[in-house]
């Protein structure tokens, strides 16, 4: 009994391995937020008037809003006036034309993270839009993509090069008034990724961005916009780790996806930000608004997330199923240990006819971790023949952690089908003993059982991401045989 508990604790208490700080001179504005700061941000980025207007509207709206309190998470109040809202890595005025021009310190940072750009380029066939702090410093594969008409660049670049697309789609899925954090993001967002896949084009590679939070006290406000035009397909990967530090860091990102007729967007995340120490000091506050709009008929948006980092995760990647026969999917693994808290889930809003959604959520709690699934399935009057299947499973390691499930169902069309399954289990001593009797160590047994629990979600991840996700959970790859 005791040796079992000890090992689970050891497993749960593994130190965060990716903590380090890169020393790069930053070009920051003073802490605090007012209209002037927003003007500075917009001016630094040389934005057209419509962007500044939109930011200011968002800011004014944000001033009228209150931080949401309904989530099942607890943290000391955030002092928004102490946050630095803009910082950019210092470099030779212009942005680098190639990797040779990128700060070697920065490249070493990526190497420490195990994601050397060169290798990624060559081996994985991944186009990397590297976001370091707030400004994109390297974009690869752009030319190849451009030859197919695919636009994949930093958000700032898109504002310069394709303002008409930005203006057309920005805020159409997540309006600035959507929620407190989305409003803040809309006002101050510094950069992010932009992707447009034109009609009938299948993006030939996984698109990837590595987000990093680096400068101390800098809240990072990313904004990503992905548009798949009629019949287009794109798979986008987002992954991140962050340096170890003591102060809480706010991250309030917004991701908007738009899928037109017959288009598919697959969006995968591996999130491994600094979760804080064992007592819960430090760690990232991850308050993210992610939403996809299945605007066209037969369109599909699929979210897959593996959330292992952050002190607090507040995140509900959602789908608006507007087009008839459109499909929304949400596959999630959220792991909380030590003092981590996660309140995550999804919203599936069925608007069009014969729309279907699938939700598979796997919550793993260890240490004193608190893991909440919060999901909403809403079937509107016109959504004839809509179907939803939800499965929410929780796995507990140890007896000081918690798992909570809040499913909300709202069905206004009688022809729809909604299914919800939920389970909570503990890793059983019998299971661990069985593995040990076959020669496996307790750690390996726990990893294996956890991995088995998450399998349905890992399956949805692109291969290279699945590997990373499994590493994050301390698990070796399953399915390499047979």
């Amino acid at each position: 009994m005791s040796s079992h508990t000890e090992t689970i604790e050891r497993f749960a208490n593994q130190e965060y391995k990716w903590g380090f700080v890169t020393d790069i001179g930053t070009d920051s504005v003073p802490p605090g937020l007012n209209e002037d700061v927003i003007r500075v941000i917009s001016a630094k980025k040389n934005e057209p008037e419509f962007m500044l207007e939109w930011r200011l509207k968002a800011y004014r709206h944000w001033l009228t809003m209150k931080e949401p309190e309904w989530a099942n998470v607890h943290y000391p109040p955030i002092d928004y006036s102490a946050i630095i809202y803009y910082s950019a890595p210092k470099m030779n005025k212009d942005r680098p034309k190639s990797l040779d021009e990128v700060d070697p310190e920065l490249l070493r940072t990526y190497e420490k993270l195990g994601i050397p750009l060169h290798e990624r380029e060559l081996l994985a066939g991944v186009a990397v839009d590297a976001v370091f702090d707030s400004v994109s410093v390297a974009t690869t594969f752009k030319e190849k993509l451009a030859s197919m008409g695919i636009i994949f660049c930093s958000f700032s670049e898109a504002v310069q090069e394709h303002p008409e697309l930005v203006q057309k789609y920005l805020g159409t899925v997540v309006p600035f008034s959507d929620n407190f954090y989305a409003a803040l993001n809309s006002a101050v967002f510094s950069d992010g990724s932009f992707c447009y896949v034109p009609k009938g084009v299948r993006c030939p590679m996984e698109l990837s961005t590595y987000f990093r939070i680096n400068a101390q006290n800098t809240g990072q406000f990313e904004r990503t916009l992905i548009i798949a035009d009629e019949g287009a397909y794109v798979s986008y990967l987002e992954g991140c780790t962050a340096p170890m530090r003591d102060e809480n860091q706010l991250h309030a990102a917004v991701v908007e996806l738009v899928a037109h007729d017959n288009a598919t967007i697959k969006y995968s995340t591996v999130q491994n930000w600094y979760p804080g120490d064992k007592e819960g000091r430090g760690g990232i506050y991850n308050f993210v608004t992610k939403r996809g709009k299945c605007a066209g008929a037969n369109s599909k948006i699929s979210w897959t997330q593996v959330e292992t980092g952050s002190a607090i995760t507040w995140k509900y990647p959602s789908c608006l199923l507007i087009g008839d026969n459109s499909v929304g999917e949400f596959y999630s693994v959220a792991l909380t240990n030590n003092r981590q808290q996660a309140d995550t889930g999804t919203k599936m809003i069925h608007i069009g006819k014969n729309t279907t959604s699938t939700i598979v959520s796997k919550g793993i709690s260890a240490g004193y971790g608190q893991n909440t699934y919060r999901g909403m399935v809403k079937i509107l009057k016109g959504a004839t023949g809509a179907r939803n299947y939800s499965q929410c499973d929780s796995l507990l390691l140890g007896d000081k952690c918690g798992a909570h499930t809040f499913p909300y169902l709202e069905v206004k069309n009688t022809s729809s089908q909604v299914e919800h399954e939920a389970s909570t289990s503990k890793i059983g001593e019998d299971q661990i003993f069985y593995c040990r009797q076959r020669g496996l160590s307790t750690e390996d047994a726990v990893s294996m059982i956890v991995h088995g629990f998450c399998k349905e979600v890992f399956r949805e991840l692109p291969m290279e991401f699945a590997v990373e996700a499994q590493k994050l959970l301390g698990v070796s790859l399953e399915g390499s045989v047979g």
């Binding site: 009994m1 003993f433 069985y434 009797q437 076959r438 088995g452 349905e456 399915g479 045989v481 047979g482």
Partner: protein, 257 residues
């Protein structure tokens, strides 16, 4: 040197003493059957040998290949060649049988200083072992025991044994819940694994299994002690007279003592 030597083994769970002085010597190449009524301590003995920490050993010693078995962790025992076929094999959802066995076999191989087996070699090795158990290959890709019928679970245990090739196998009521066809297949697998280097301890309530797995020695366990040992005929005798006779015999013995 015997492969396994148990001397005056006492074990309890909570305050209840279950094993009250077991003495047993098993040599390589032998098959020992341990029989006894419910509650006699058969399964406890199997669990203590495998290292389950639900039980506390209070007295006695167990030597495995001359080493103190009781000091070894369960995984160490497994890597040293002790295998237990569980009476109630657990389910491990999402972990394929194939993957599980590869991890287990490689843990054992690593311990013995052998190279880990790669995916391709392992697959062909496993397929060859599967034929022993007349197992459907589909079971390889299914999660460990998840959704298996009772018979499939038991066969899977023997299949694990065939892959891991232990030196000492402890079969804990492997026959329980098996119909006659499944019993024949399981016994066939076990018999195929009999070898001069390998010893087996077959724990069973019924004589039936011993028609298929013919033991070299039969022990009757009652109230935590071995009350009688003999050859395979002892099992037949037991079948006729029932355990009550032994219990009475032991009660008599206790009275006399």
């Amino acid at each position: 040197m015997p492969l396994l030597e148990i001397r005056n083994l006492h074990a309890k769970i909570g305050d209840r003493e279950i094993l009250r002085g077991i003495d047993l010597t098993v040599n390589a190449g032998e098959v020992h059957a341990i029989m006894g009524p419910n509650g006699s301590g058969k399964s406890t003995l199997a669990q203590v040998l495998s290292g389950r920490d639900l039980y506390e050993v209070t007295e006695g010693e167990v030597l495995y290949d001359g080493k103190n078995l009781l000091e070894m962790e369960p995984e160490e025992r497994a890597r040293e060649g002790i295998f237990m076929a569980f009476q109630y094999p657990v389910e491990i959802p999402g972990v394929s049988n194939l993957y599980f066995l590869k991890a287990a076999l490689n843990a054992v191989r690593k311990h013995r200083g052998l190279e880990e087996m790669d995916a391709m070699d392992f697959l062909s090795f496993v397929k060859q072992r599967m034929q022993l158990m007349e197992m459907d290959q589909e079971l390889l890709n299914r999660a460990v025991n998840a959704g298996f019928s009772g018979g499939e679970k038991k066969r899977n245990e023997i299949f694990h044994m065939a892959v891991l090739e232990p030196r000492l196998a402890v079969l804990d009521e492997t026959d329980s819940g098996l119909d006659i066809d499944a019993l024949r297949i399981v016994a066939g697998g076990v018999n195929a694994l009999r070898s001069p280097e390998r010893a087996m301890i077959v724990v069973t309530h019924y004589q039936r299994l011993l028609n298929y797995i013919v033991p070299d020695v039969v022990h009757v366990l009652s109230e935590g002690r071995i009350v009688k040992s003999g050859d395979k005929n002892l099992a037949l005798e037991l079948e006729e007279s029932g355990y009550a006779a032994f219990e009475e015999e032991e009660a008599e013995a206790l009275k006399r003592a």
